[in-house]
Symmetry: C2
Subunit: 236 residues, 2 copies
Amino acid sequence: MATRTGRSQRRTEALSRERIVEAAVELLDTAGEGGLTFRALTERLATGHGAIYWHVANKGELLAAATDAVIAAALAVEPAGSAGSTGSADSTPQERVRAVASGLFDTIDEHPWVAAQLTASSLQVTTPRIFESVGRQVRALGVPEGSWFTAASVLVEYILGAAAQNAANARALGPDANRAEFLDAVSNAWEELDPDDYPFTRAVAEQLRAHDDREQFLAGIDLVLAGITALHPPRG
Amino acid sequence: MATRTGRSQRRTEALSRERIVEAAVELLDTAGEGGLTFRALTERLATGHGAIYWHVANKGELLAAATDAVIAAALAVEPAGSAGSTGSADSTPQERVRAVASGLFDTIDEHPWVAAQLTASSLQVTTPRIFESVGRQVRALGVPEGSWFTAASVLVEYILGAAAQNAANARALGPDANRAEFLDAVSNAWEELDPDDYPFTRAVAEQLRAHDDREQFLAGIDLVLAGITALHPPRG
DNA sequence: TTCCATTATGGAGCGCCGTTCCAGTCCTGG
DNA sequence: CCAGGACTGGAACGGCGCTCCATAATGGAA
């Protein structure tokens, strides 16, 4: 299966699965999810369809590979330590959860197409990476083993859900346009909703206008962490 | 713009935006996200493309309308009350959050395509409905007004994130196949991961195999609620 | 060195998609 | 009764993912 061990390049510059995935990520970043096309890829790599299909089975596999590459890079930034569990260093588990979550949030903010892909293939290849990074900190928090799966799942689901929605907003806006204007428009729309049907939404319209996405996201992380601590006190 | 007030039907049975959306939902349910095609819709409604495009601008608008219809139905099941805030009745705010969340979870489980659509158009038309339903209970929980937006956002983001991931698993599985077999296969895959790289994931593989999606989801809701209560004690 | 199976390439083309265009039909108000 | 707006449906366009296949480059065997 496409071993290619140590083979030197052929013609111009050997086409490899790596180069294809790299080009795919660039295309997705610059042109959005709809921008990844085998035709565009063909042009960018100066080759034909068939050559690409030799390395990659189909578009789905290419998307999965691109997602995995981006997420792996995001999680590699962490110190990660060796096989160690607690990570000895000078940070609390809470801080380390925030760090992992922040990294994922920023990465998905930079590559909005990742969000759709991640939620579309949940228990597949990429998710264990995320699950493991988050789960180690859950364990370090002192959660009893019987609740590990639940606590880690909630964290991962919240992280991916919040990041996905944030990315969707960024995507709906376009890469350049003015975020403040967009928030202002949505906030105004909320304020003009029917007062009988939407009292709460109208009441928080102002908070929507003023909020900061990242801050909001980290506040959510803290809230989930507080829930974990409340249900599983550190020294039970 | 397409008033059609009280017009009696024309030929066979007047084509209406309502009938189109209804057919679209049925197609999405039976054939998946890829099953919604203007050609399939044409055939099912015994008409031509142009007729559909007269009522609906494009596929995106049709998807949004279908999503809105399904979500509106899901939230309408709630007692909803009048404009009232607390909902007087015999249930606690926590129980009412669980009820709203359950309804959304079940609906997204029944119509998996809704998840992708919801996260793809976050601050658009449909979301305020959900936000309002959840937000009213947040208010009833006694959360201080300055934290309403944060608390409601976290709940909505978790609900949509978790439901989306659950729906993705259901979709990856196909409508018929065996859930237990699928979980077993993933669990086995997790157990065969590298012990050095994935100690936590391996440790919870057994919990993954045994878990119940709905129970897991509600445990997450409880965890988030516990976090809200911890950070905003009922009587501050 | 010669030869050939393997590995790798890229172009032609198929079927399907969303969407546009437009000629035509139906219905209603004047 | 007829003009004109409301509505229909078929033809056609460009672009998509993907398959097929003739061919070129390659490295090991002879």
